[in-house]
Amino acid sequence: MRRRWPRHCRALTDRWLGWLPLGRAQRLLVLVSNAGATLARSQGGRLQEVQFLPADAEGWLQLDDAVKARPAAPVYLAVDSVDEAYRSEVLPRVRGADWREMTDRRLQQLLHQTPYRAALRQGRAPAVAAGEHHLFMGLTAPALLQPWLDVLRLRQTPLAGVWLTPVLAQVLLRRLRIAHPAVLLVVAQGDDLRLSFFQGGWLRYARLAPRAAHASADPLADHAEQIERTRQALLAQRMLQRGEPLHVAVLDPLDCLGGLPQRLTQQPEVNCELIGRGQLLSRLKLSPDHLTQTGDLIFLSLLPSAPAAANLLPQDQRLPYLHHRLRRALAAASAVSLITGSLTAAALGLDAWRRTAAAATLQAQSAAAEAQLQRLLAASPAISELESVWRSHEAWQHVRTHMADPTQPLAAVAASIGEAPGVRLLNLQWRGPDGQAGPVIVLDAEISPFDGDYLAAHRHIDSLIRRLTAAGWRARLTRRPLDNDPGLTIQGDFAPGQGLHQAVFQLVIVKAENPA
């Protein structure tokens, strides 16, 4: 036996956590007819707490009690009435605002007397180019529905919508997997018979036929009569052609209509199929208790699957349901945020705790190592000074890397230049070692005397570089007497009296790693 949450715990949970979208959504399903209303609670697709409400103040009160007991549950309402209108037309295939404008206009023309109307798309019309089948339907006499709607409006109950029973029959047809080109679905509805006609799986026509006076004595005859009347009506409206096969599917939840197909043999194009109890139980989510003589509970079980486009409820009456959807969405977002935030914070907290514990371990190890180091340093006065000695040694070694003698390189380079004729030393710069780089000498000199022969000057410099290379230096010419770069502009004036020409050049010299 499944354990149930104790009642007081449930109340507590509902009060503090009722806003969380936990568990499967609950819905209240109501099917209104002339005889009253059938009310059921749907949870997880199963019908529960089925009630039959009379069409009077007592029934309205019972509905009020049910709604009051579950104020957050949305209500889905179906209507089974003779005051219905259906009109099937082929209209141009358009989308969006154009479709809404077109269908609203047509609905106003066809069903101006009622606000409970809707238009359904029903597939392409092969016979008409760019055409599409439409079914316009409406509840022509809303007075049947009004008292029930007043109860819901008073309680500000979120009303999801109002649907006609034949629309649910279309859903039923698909659940039963009946796929004939022309189908007449027959369902007993209390004292009446609901006949719905489908072409290609789309609802085209429906009627609610009152039972004849002799129906209780010979229900098969009543069924056969209504089926034939409906067939004639379809022929009259040219929805069905003479000789066109018609598949009649009759719901037989109590398996008591076994002789019906034989009653319909007069018309050879009519083919009758009985949908028995076993088939209904296997295809629909209903318990055996809910399969009664009337099809109310069958239609109620299909109400949550009703197509949204067939909702007859006017837009201005849908606000409470929209708010209901938004409330659930906000509650779901709150729940997700709460869970995500908690999990993220928990993960971060766990990591922080782990790192703190690891840091404590490391600190303990550091303390132990520090103690060991202090013990060793305290063992001897010399050792206690070891750190200071080492630091002074490191500092001294660092300074020694900067020490270099400038005089010897300067003298050596000057001597090499001095031996080269025609070169006048202007300036020698020595740069001390810097990190990995060794000392560098920058030499500025000029060819003297110079008669303007730059070519000879360059050759002279080249020979000077060779002399330095032979002496164990590596020289790089960084400034020429005349830069011969084709991308540069160079100019001069060899006219007499224009001043002495100069052939100044610069070399960067370093000690060769492998002297030649």
């Binding site: 806003w19 500000q156 708010h323 938004l326 409330r327 906000l330 977002a333 709150s334 945020s337 709460l338 995500t340 935030g341 993220t344 914070a345 993960a347 971060l348 907290g349 990591d351 922080a352 790192r355 703190t356 690891a358 840091a359 490391l362 600190q363 190890q365 550091s366 190592a369 520090e370 060991q372 180091l373 010399a382 050792i383 000074e385 200071s388 000695v389 080492w390 630091r391 002074s392 040694h393 490191e394 500092a395 001294w396 660092h398 300074v399 900067h402 020490m403 270099a404 400038p406 005089t407 010897q408 003298a411 030393l425 202007l426 300036n427 020698l428 710069q429 020595w430 740069r431 001390g432």
Partner: protein, 181 residues
């Protein structure tokens, strides 16, 4: 304007979002502090273990080479930068080896690359001067024993009317951080 039917759910969502954000922020701050603490503890342990590992090598060096600090102190390397001593040494050199030009400029001391190390730059303008004469002059400065220096740069202009050299010396001093504090 939020419809009355939605005010409570919206307020609840805002509260939950605020609470979740605060929770995550607090946890993140805690995690960040714990990470920093862990890194500091890890670095401290690595440093101590490094010192322990180097202890035998340093002990061996101490046994082999002895304590260099007395020598370094005598040379003027250990201790505070003594600018007056350096400048006085220049004056004594000028008296012993007169130059027609001996201009000096001492720059502000700056920290060296190692803890406790200080570098003080001194610009010298010497004339008449050439490399061989500079060697003699620097040897005489060494004999003054007023400190430890290195030559950073020397510019020699032999073509001037009076050959001159402009040199930049770096005077080095070191003080143990424990002694300074």
């Amino acid at each position: 304007m939020i419809p009355p039917a939605l005010q409570t759910p919206v307020a609840r969502l805002a509260l939950v979002l605020g609470g979740a954000f605060s929770l995550i922020l607090a946890a993140w701050l805690w995690q960040r502090a714990a990470t920093a603490e862990h890194q500091a503890a890890s670095a401290r342990l690595a440093e101590i273990r490094g010192r322990l590992a180097l202890l035998p090598e340093r002990l061996a060096r101490l046994r082999n080479e002895g304590d260099p600090r007395a020598m370094l102190r005598a040379r003027g390397f250990i201790g505070a930068a003594d600018r007056l001593a350096w400048i006085s040494a220049l004056a004594r050199l000028q008296a012993a080896m007169p130059l027609t030009q001996l201009a000096w400029q001492v720059e502000p001391s700056r920290p060296g690359a190692l803890p406790g190390l200080t570098a003080t730059a001194m610009q010298l303008d010497l004339a008449p001067m050439d490399p061989s004469r500079l060697r003699v002059w620097l040897d005489a400065l060494d004999r003054q024993g007023v400190g430890v220096y290195s030559v950073d740069r020397c510019d020699w202009t032999p073509a001037a009317q009076t050959p001159r050299m402009q040199c930049r010396l770096i005077w080095w001093t070191w003080q143990d951080e424990a002694d300074r504090s």
